[in-house]
Amino acid sequence: MSDLVLPAERVMAEPGELGRFGEHGGRFVPESLVPACARLEEGFREAWSDPSFHRDLERLLTVYAGRPTALTPAWRLSAELGITVLLKREDLAHTGSHKINNVLGQALLARRMGKTRLLAETGAGQHGVATATAGALLGLGVTVYMGEKDIERQALNVFRMKMLGAEVVPVTSGSRTLKDATSEAMRAWVTCLDEAHYCLGSVMGPHPYPWMVREFQRVIGDEARRQSAAELSTGIPDYVVACVGGGSNAAGTFAGFADTGARLIGVEAAGGAAVASGRTGVLHGFRSYLLQDENGQVSEAHSIAPGLDYPGVGPEHAYLNDIGRARYVTVSDEEVVPAVHRLARTEGILPALESAHAIAWVIRAAESGELPPFSTVLVTLSGRGDKDVATLMEAPAPTGAPAPTGAPVPTGAPVPTGAPAPMEAPALKEAPALKEEQ
C-alpha cells in the first residue's frame, strides 16, 4: 500500500492564514466575528509554539483525562472476522469520549487569553459534558446550547452538565438539533466576545477551529501510532477507521497516520453523510460538503447517533476525500445497533452509537471480503455507550444475536482458543496469533 504514502507536509498540514484545505475551509462569518477569529488564531499560534502550553496540556491530559488511552486488541471479534482489530479506547478518557482532549486544549487557551466563560454547542451531549468538566476544573463559567430534540434524547448528559455547573440553553429553532444549537452558540458569541471563548466541538467552524481542533485531537493518532508499532509486526495498521460527524475523532486519528501507507476510512451515518451525499456549501463559518435541498437550504441530518446528526463535515475531511487520501463510507442505523450488541458481547465494551458506525463498517467490510483476510485494522472507539442505553432499549434487538451465555462464536469462524484474557492474548507482534489459528 505504499502507493498511498504522501509527504507529511502536504497532508494534514497547517492550513495557512486563510485556513484553506484545498477549496474547503475559510472564514465565512459576520464581520463582527472576524476580529475574534483573528485573535483566536493568533492566540492559538502563540500557545502552540510555546513549550509551557504543551507541558500544561500534556500534564492535564495525563493526570486528569487519563491519557494515554489503551489500544485494545479486540480478540474475539478479530477471531470471528478473520482480521486483526485494534481498538483505540477514547471511551476510557475522562468524561467518556475523545471530546475531552479538544476541550482541555481550548479551555487552557481561553484562560491564557483572559476569557472567563466558555460557550459550547452540543448534540449527543458529550462535548457539552466535556466543556462543563473543563470549565469546572479551570474555574470558567460554561453555557451550553443544545437542541430541544437532543435534550430529550440525552437527558442523562443534560443532567451531568448541570451537575458540573453548566447552564444548558434549549434551542427551539429549526430542526432543534446540533445544527441549530451551533447557530445559536455563534449568535450568542457575538454578544460577549470580550469575556467568552466559543469552545467549538469538532473540526468545523471558521478558521482556525478546524485546524486547532485537529491539533488538539492529534494526540489520538500519535498515541495510536506508537501503540500500533508496539502491537503489530507490520508496525502500521493496514486500515485506520473512525466515525465522522463533524469529524474530530477521525481527524485526530488520521493525523497520526497521514504520512503512512495506512488506508484511512471515515464512516458517516447514512442519514448525515455530507461527503457521500452533500455538495459544496457554506454553513457555520466554513466551506465544505453540506447536505442541502434543491434550493440550497440546509437539510436536516438523521441518525440514531445524535453526534453524527450534523449536515456538514469538517473541511479537511472534504479535502482528504477530494485528493483520495481518505475514503468515506456510510453505515445505516440498522447496521449500527447490531454492531453495538456484537462488540458488547465479544469484547465487553459498550460503544457509543457514533463509534459503533466505525465498528459496523469493519464488520460489514470483513464479512463481505472487502477487508482482505488477515488485514490489520485500527478503529477509534470515540466514546462509550452509556449515554445511548435508553435509545438502545427502544431499538429492536438484532436478530440472531448470540445468547448471553454459551459459545458465542459462529461455526466456521476462526476460534480463539483459550480464554481471550489479556494475559493470554495473542502476541500480535510475533504472529499475529490470530492468523495462526486460521
Partner: protein, 245 residues
C-alpha cells in the same frame, strides 16, 4: 433626503410584494429583500421566524425573484441573503438572476471581505452593487478597506449582536457611523436595532440613512397588512425628514 431602507423577508405571505409597493409609496428610498435561508446566523428571533415561515410556505430564490420581476418598482431593490444560497447557484448565475429580476444591490452578512473576491467580481459584471458590512469591532485599517471595496453604500452594524428591536441606538453604532463617514464619501447606512421613528431621527445626525428590519417584520408576523406597514414606515420617513441636516 436621508435614506430609509425597510427590510422585508421575501415570500413571507402570498401577497408579500404588496408591502414593496406600500413601502415605496411611504418614503422608502430603497428596499432590502431577504432571500430566506434555513440557518440565518446573524439574525435574531424575529427574522429567524420570518425566514422559517417563508420557507415553510415554499419560498425559494427562484420564486421570490420571479415575483420581484413581475413587480415593477422604481426605487432600488437590494437582496440580502446568506452565502450558501450564492454558492449553491454559483456567484455568476446568482448575480445574473438578481439583475434579471431588477435587483441592483446585494448584502451577504456571512461573507467578510477576505472571502468576497469571487462574488464581488460576478456582481460587478452584472451591475449589482455588493454592499459590505462594517461592525463596531472592525479595526481602522480594515474599516478603510471595507469602505473602499463596498459598492452602493456601507452597511454599518450598530451593535455586537443579532438583528432585533432595541430600546435605543447603541453608542457603538454612532461611533462606527462617525468613523466611516470620516473615511469615505459613500453613503453610510446604520442598521440593527432601529426600532422607532425617534431612533431614525437620532441616527440621522451621524449617518446617511437607516435600515429598519425587525421592527417591521414583527408587525408583519403579527398580521399587519401592507397598508398598516406602509403607515408605520411613513412615521420613520417623517422622523427622518424632521431632522434638519
Amino acid at each position: 433626503m436621508k435614506g430609509l431602507v425597510p427590510y422585508l423577508t421575501g415570500g413571507i405571505r402570498p401577497d408579500w410584494t404588496r408591502y414593496l409597493r406600500e413601502y415605496e409609496r411611504n418614503g422608502a428610498t430603497a428596499i432590502e429583500i431577504g432571500l430566506p435561508f434555513s440557518d440565518p446566523i446573524l439574525d435574531g428571533p424575529t427574522i429567524q421566524e420570518a425566514s422559517d415561515r417563508a420557507l415553510r410556505a415554499g419560498a425559494s430564490v427562484a420564486t421570490i425573484l420571479a415575483e420581484v420581476a413581475a413587480t415593477k418598482m422604481t426605487i432600488p431593490l437590494i437582496a440580502m441573503t446568506y452565502y450558501n444560497l450564492v454558492v449553491h447557484r454559483g456567484p455568476e448565475l446568482f448575480c445574473r438572476e438578481l439583475a434579471d429580476a431588477g435587483i441592483t444591490g446585494l448584502i451577504v452578512p456571512d461573507l467578510p471581505i477576505d472571502e468576497a473576491g469571487a462574488l464581488a467580481a460576478a456582481a460587478e459584471k452584472h451591475g449589482v452593487d455588493l454592499t459590505l458590512l462594517a461592525a463596531p469591532t472592525t479595526q481602522p485599517d480594515r474599516l478603510a478597506e471595507i469602505a473602499r471595496r463596498s459598492r452602493g453604500f456601507i452597511y454599518a452594524i450598530s451593535v455586537m449582536g443579532t438583528t432585533g428591536e432595541r430600546d435605543q441606538i447603541a453608542e457603538s453604532g454612532i461611533r462606527l457611523a462617525g468613523e466611516l463617514r470620516r473615511l469615505t464619501d459613500k453613503p453610510v447606512l446604520l442598521a440593527f436595532g432601529i426600532s422607532r421613528p425617534e431612533h431614525a431621527a437620532a441616527a440621522a445626525g451621524v449617518c446617511d440613512g437607516v435600515v429598519v428590519g425587525a421592527a417591521l417584520m414583527r408587525r408583519i408576523l403579527d398580521g399587519g397588512t401592507p397598508e398598516e406597514l406602509g403607515a408605520v414606515l411613513g412615521g420613520f420617513r417623517r422622523a427622518l425628514d424632521s431632522v434638519a441636516v
